[in-house]
Symmetry: C2
Subunit: 570 residues, 2 copies
């Protein structure tokens, strides 16, 4: 009997040891359109298991994530990208339509399987056309096995977004039109999927004629409440998946200590406003150390564009105050939208945590400069990189390259730079010689690559925009930021090679440049693009290939379009 | 020299003889979304080569039509059905998603190739989800090699439609919602793609907030003008592709002589109003024999539903009056919407032309009765046939059956009838035992099949709707119409076996039945369904298989979805 108990005891110990090992986290998602009112205006949104934002994926470092996604979008295809997950050994699971996979057809189920190899805060979202804007997005939260360089009592997540009332079809085909129809400023800013549109600006008669309903008492748009216990410290994992907007995030009366950026530990620094760009994640620590007898505003505001969108509002609720009790104050005044200085200052403040420095190689094997410009091609407004506007091929690169399919994309590689001497980045340029291409950059495996993102004037006078660039499959070191034209002889001398932060998304400030370095050591094909949904759609992106010969056997689930239609028997 | 001329002469004669033979008509279509204002309200519509309705396919009897359709719908797939073309020998070209093909992916080009073996007036339209409602439709006009049993001076085409401002996504996902969101009555009726919405019902502020524009001076919605020369006779080919509406078509002050229905010659009869249901085509002869000093209204009006939609208006313009000169009168009063009698009378009046009678077999091998009811299944409002609500499989039947793919659809065949004794067709029924299925009816090849379409009360008291049923791959004989419950013992005795018209679409009147007969002699798999877009989407359809073993090799272009993903190397 005692022997039996001992066996049972050992069994349970082993079982517990086993659960401490990497686990498989299995999700089943149904993706479909539903009517929802995230900002009180009823419209068709894309939901996952009935929700937008979708469920948070919670895992531990080293776990395997399996997500079986069933497309019930009727007549529309689907692809989901796991933003910030490097997909080491699984480049086919990156979820980027046209780059790493064919889209998933209505009625089909796509199985994404990958390892979350590092702790941190990541995102997921649709990566097909402008589908992300319909509400298909969420958070991935990976906890570490060991200790972290900061302490907190509670862990909370906040996803920021901007929100449009037009469908993604209306947005996309407006952008592709001649005359050009810009998506415009968003109708609202939403925090954890909840915002507040001013319904009174729409007349009842017109709403009924288009089937719209705007109802501020709809629970869908009941503002998000973050309830805190006085004296406790909260880790807030904050991600932005805005279509367009650069944001300032603030908790009235509270400082925030930035401790993580895109899954990498940051040497802590304190902010009142956190500037956050589409595709970025941050963890901040907030101590509930203010007068606990009242609630406070949580706000998001548009910066870097002349804002017409009202602030996103949520409640920082001190327990036991009623969560719906309005703060007694007005929401805090946001930073001036056109003052880039504090935004640049925050960019410069983000360094790797001193205990977690991953030093970059001191030199690079290749330097590619990407000039970001607006252009007109065949009468259509486009964004270009070195005068080439990116278009996605119908046969995904990963499959075309791995299977040696001919003519799947343009064979001419796009340029490595621009006319540095003559190009005036401070004036609207003609850029009439821009072309459209789906050529890609092939990188020698295991080399070090520097990328200089060079901003410029748009087609409007005295205007240069803010672009958050996101790299798939890698983190990169952020070596430096500068104003004006990047000087390849002198600026590299100022690179931070001591403690640069690693990120997967980085901002290029107006009229400025940003310098990055990464190791081309993840076999696959990887998109690198502006994370503004409309900008990527309009051609603001490039694609890198590295080590394609080291990529394992492609799963048949990613095939089925372009030249891969019917290539493999499943 | 003379010899040379002779050779040249013979060459030209031969060449002309050759052109008198069947020709190949090759079309290249680009399908995409564009902003258009068919009824003055700007919305995203699907165009073919920039137009909605799409180009008319013009061919001669026996010609081969090749249409290469490129899908540029962004994230949405596509399928186009050639309505009324029997696709003899080419069942894979029928263009019915889920039945005869996988949908065509964005970026792909689908090549439809088929023979138009008979003269007549046919249609084409999207056959995928509710995509047709976005504007993808047009006319096929096949002229005969020989004489026709009537004469006219000019040949003109008119496509009628109703028009919604909601997107097809909004319509479809509303229908699939719980609570159910009905598409409602159309915002306007359009004639050759042009209508007139009352823009003043929408406020300017709300329009700008949703990006909408309503402008009655937009040329997109400039009313259609049919210019006629006094004394001449016009053949009008009239087709209806309404999403919902049964229509009455009228030319103020002019009689119309019906001479063709769905490609079959009709024993001529005269009407003032032509009742036309979605999926039907008619040719009528109109003589410009009225006072030529003025113009006249061409109108379409909703019948059989309590109309809230204003009349569709166009101008019957006597040359040389100005085409934009308004008729001096008000548009003619439409028939009472709820008076079914004249509609039934027209149905009964349509007989085969005495010179073109194709007699039906006097008996049938199988009789299937289809009871049409509304049901609730899992909280979702559906239409059902014999208590089975149809759903499309993800692997098209044609491929699954031809290639013996297992479990592609439900193997249980749906019922052949209903509880004739106990079912009360005049009351709202509970129908709580309805199920959803994609089972199909397998017909013995070359047998004669009778179909009785039995109407009933909807889920609302004292309401029975009008359903135009369309059969793919065949014409059927229309043997009879009746009121109330079909009596299988007595009603067949009243069948018209002498000169029944053949059609591909036939109406079932409220609380009535319609009896059809067809020969199951066209190898393939064929949909038979209510042509009301919302009704088919809600399950009002069935599928027939016949002679699958006689179907030739399937083209790889129709594969690529469900179990056929990656089955065949192209």
């Amino acid at each position: 009997m005692i022997k039996h108990l001992l066996v049972l005891c050992i069994f349970f110990i082993l079982r517990n040891l086993h659960t401490a090992e990497a686990r498989v986290r299995h999700y089943k998602w149904e993706v479909k359109y539903e009517y929802k009112s995230p900002d009180c205006f009823k419209k068709l949104v894309i939901t996952i298991n009935g929700k937008t934002p979708g469920p948070t994926i919670q895992a531990e470092e080293g776990d395997t994530i399996i997500v079986e996604v069933t497309n019930n979008l009727g007549t529309e295809n689907l692809a989901i990208h796991w933003h910030g997950i490097r997909q080491i050994g699984t480049p086919w699971a990156d979820g980027t339509e046209g780059v790493t996979q064919c889209p998933t057809l209505p009625g089909d189920t796509m199985k994404y399987q990958f390892v979350v190899d590092r702790p941190g805060t990541y995102l997921y979202h649709a990566h097909y056309g402008m589908q992300r804007g319909a509400g298909l997005y969420g958070l991935i939260r990976v906890t570490p096995r060991g200790p972290e360089p900061f302490v907190y009592d509670f862990d909370r997540s906040i996803i920021l977004n901007d929100w449009y009332h037009q469908s993604t079809y209306e947005q996309a085909f407006g952008l592709a039109s001649n005359p050009f129809v810009w998506v415009g400023e968003p109708q609202s800013l939403i925090i954890n999927g909840k915002g507040r549109f001013n319904c009174s600006t729409i007349s009842a008669s017109s709403l009924s004629s288009t089937g719209g309903v705007c109802n501020t008492s709809n629970p869908d748009c009941s503002p998000y409440v973050l309830t805190v216990i006085p004296g406790k410290t909260y880790r807030l994992r904050i991600g932005s998946l805005t279509g367009l907007s650069a944001l300032s995030f603030q908790i009235e009366g509270h400082n925030m200590t930035v401790v993580e950026a895109d899954g990498n530990y940051v040497e802590p620094f304190v902010v009142k406003n956190l500037f956050i760009y589409s595709g970025e994640t941050y963890s901040v620590l907030v101590k509930a150390d203010q007068d606990p007898s009242r609630n406070y505003w949580i706000t998001s505001n548009v910066v870097s564009r002349n804002r017409t969108t009202p602030a996103g509002l949520a409640t920082f609720n001190y327990y036991p105050n009623h969560p719906k009790r309005s703060p007694p104050t007005s929401p805090p005044t946001p930073p001036a939208w056109d003052d880039a200085e504090p935004r640049v200052a925050q960019s410069l403040a983000i360094k790797a945590h001193h205990g977690y420095i991953n030093k970059p190689p001191t030199t690079s094997d290749r330097v590619i400069v990407f000039l970001n410009t607006q252009n007109t091609i065949n009468g259509i407004r486009r964004w270009s990189v070195n005068n080439v506007s990116f278009s996605l091929p119908h046969t995904p690169y990963l499959i075309a390259l791995k299977q040696n399919l001919k003519n799947a994309f343009h064979s001419t590689p796009p340029p490595e730079g621009y006319d540095f001497i003559n190009y005036d980045i401070f004036s609207p340029a003609n850029n009439s010689n821009a072309t459209s291409s789906n050529g890609l950059y092939r990188l020698k495996f295991d080399t070090t690559v520097d990328i200089i993102l060079q901003n410029a004037n748009t087609m409007n006078k005295n205007n240069s925009e803010t672009h958050p660039w996101h790299l798939h499959g890698h983190d990169f070191w952020v070596l430096g930021y500068g104003e004006g034209k990047f000087d390849k002889n002198n600026d590299p001398k100022k690179y931070n090679l001591e403690n640069p932060i690693m990120k997967n998304t980085v901002v290029v400030h107006p009229y400025g440049w940003t310098a990055l370095r990464f190791r081309a050591n993840n076999p696959g094909v990887w998109a690198f693009h502006c994370h503004i949904e409309a900008h990527f759609f309009m051609g603001m992106g490039v694609v890198f290939e590295e080590g394609i010969d080291r990529v394992g056997k492609l799963p048949s689930s990613i095939l089925g379009c372009g030249q891969t239609k019917g290539v493999n028997r499943p």
